[in-house]
Amino acid sequence: MTFKVLNPGMFSTIQDAGRFSYQTFGFSPSGVLDYRAYQLANRLLGNEDDAAVLEMTLQGVELLVEKDAMISTSGAEAPITIEGNNYSHGTVIKVMKGETLKIGKCENGSRTYLAVLGGFDVPEILGSRSTHTRSGIGGFKGRTIKSGDVLKTLGGDFSDGMKKIKAFESDNNIRIIPGQQYERFKEDVQRKLFNSEYTITKDSDRMGIRLDGPGLETDEGHDVLSEPTQLGSIQVPKNGQPIILLNDRQTAGGYVRIATVALADIPKLVQKSPGETLTFEEIDVDEATKIYKEELAKIDSGEYFEDIRDFTSVRRHTSLKISKLMGV
């Protein structure tokens, strides 16, 4: 099963769960930003939990199908058309040789995902297929995909495809755990963090989300000795404008960190686009652990899936079978 890239979108990379165990050598974990959308897309196809997918930012891709394939999509909703016909987001679709698959502009989020049966077939580097574009490591030749690239998939057996990912409700509230230098900020500054709105700026990328809002200053200095960074670390440089570190972050950082985003809220956070605002709510690390476990359990239980009732959206492989059963 292969695809030829006709239009690569804005920033599309092959990602999996991430490159772990090498942060002490300076390797960013990289990996999918929205772990929930990633897991759900793979589960729709019956893939392994670490199968590689294509992550697209704000704008989808156009692919020529060179061999028949099973695909699924998840994350931000984006219109899906095959040979000009519309299909549902969040479902399994069979695509056939010679067809053009087009994923449009993200409509209610900023990252949309394309999974394929078995996952994309790119070499594993240090145990992961994730792309880290800044160091040119992993994924498809260490970079975003380009027109003309040929993406191979691992393939496998497929059985059940009659499920759809439910639509997510989202708000702007992000729960955070007090960070390494939280105490360095005076009480009125801490309050400012929790009582203000922060706007996501255009400079945001897979390294971090840069925010614009009431400045968070401390008289005790914004620099610290370089320390390991973490997913969701909210660091505050001297200008007082917070930066939330994401998967492609440098593994060590020297700015004060006021808080860490709760892992349960990462899928919500990474789907926000420039111009949207965030508010923050304080929770402790035990509460954060509890809600993260609940989130992972929900993904695992199938709670985010619903049965497909509207068969008009279902593609040939199932609809044909159904029409046979119905005798039409």
């Binding site: 240090l126 960070g179 390991p228």
Partner: protein, 239 residues
């Protein structure tokens, strides 16, 4: 030992608040000790100047249990242990197109030859890696070589460049923008995905730069291209 939790799946251990060889040694020992224990659920340990962070699988263990294990370890006792590390020799072609900032040390009252002499043949301690894969934060630079970063950072520094930024020396494993004063370049790939090990050093190891001339550098470049090169790494033991 100060044990903290800033995320659901990690515990951070602080062993001090300043850069020191003694703290680095304790951290490396602590990391080794924890790895030897093969604790269920521990997935990754990352070292920095004064702390280490332990990542774990929240379905296999939890922060409180890890804290209890950590409390049984005495870092002062670890420091007294003998210590194995690797000494990694990095051949560097100093000056010329490889080290365009060598002349700037005139301001420090040093000739290019003196800079090379002070910079090479010193065993620099790898405190930690970060910034980019394989980028070492080194300690032990002669203070006569301290030099502020360039006022106008370069937009692209070639991979393998060796330089000085403030009180630190180090090298760029990948081509990147940067403001360091460049002294020279090594032909040895600092990251090679087909080599074992892919990165040549880790926290607690030492790096020594050996000055080579341009002929030798070009020969080495050729060998690297043919994938037929060797890096001199010797295992040492310290008290």
């Amino acid at each position: 030992m100060d044990i903290k939790r800033y995320s659901e799946n990690s515990v951070t251990v602080y062993l001090g608040d300043e850069i020191s060889e003694a703290i680095n040694k304790q951290l490396v020992h602590l990391k080794n000790e924890l790895e030897d224990m093969e604790m269920d659920g521990v997935s990754e340990i990352v070292i920095s100047y004064t702390s280490l962070i332990i990542y774990y699988d929240i379905f296999k263990t939890n922060g409180k249990d890890l804290e209890d294990v950590l409390k049984t370890i005495d870092p002062a006792r670890l420091e007294k242990r003998s210590f194995k590390y690797n000494l990694v020799e990095i051949p560097v072609c100093y000056g010329g197109e490889y080290g365009p900032d060598l002349e700037l040390f005139d301001d420090n009252g040093l000739s290019p030859e003196e800079v090379i002499e002070l910079h090479s043949d010193t065993k620099y301690l790898v405190y930690m890696l970060g910034f980019m894969p394989g980028f070492p934060y080194l300690g032990g630079l002669d203070e006569r070589l301290f030099k502020d970063r360039l006022d106008n950072p370069r937009t692209s520094i070639p991979a393998g460049s060796v330089g000085i930024g403030g009180k630190q020396t180090g090298m760029y494993p990948f081509t990147s923008p940067g403001g360091w004063n460049l002294l020279g370049r090594t032909a040895i790939p600092l990251f090679d995905e087909n080599r074992d090990p892919q990165i040549l050093y880790e926290a607690g190891d030492r790096i020594i730069y050996r000055s080579i001339d341009e002929d030798e550098h070009k020969k080495l470049q050729q060998q690297v291209e043919n994938n037929d090169y060797e890096v001199k790494i010797t295992s040492r033991e310290a008290k």
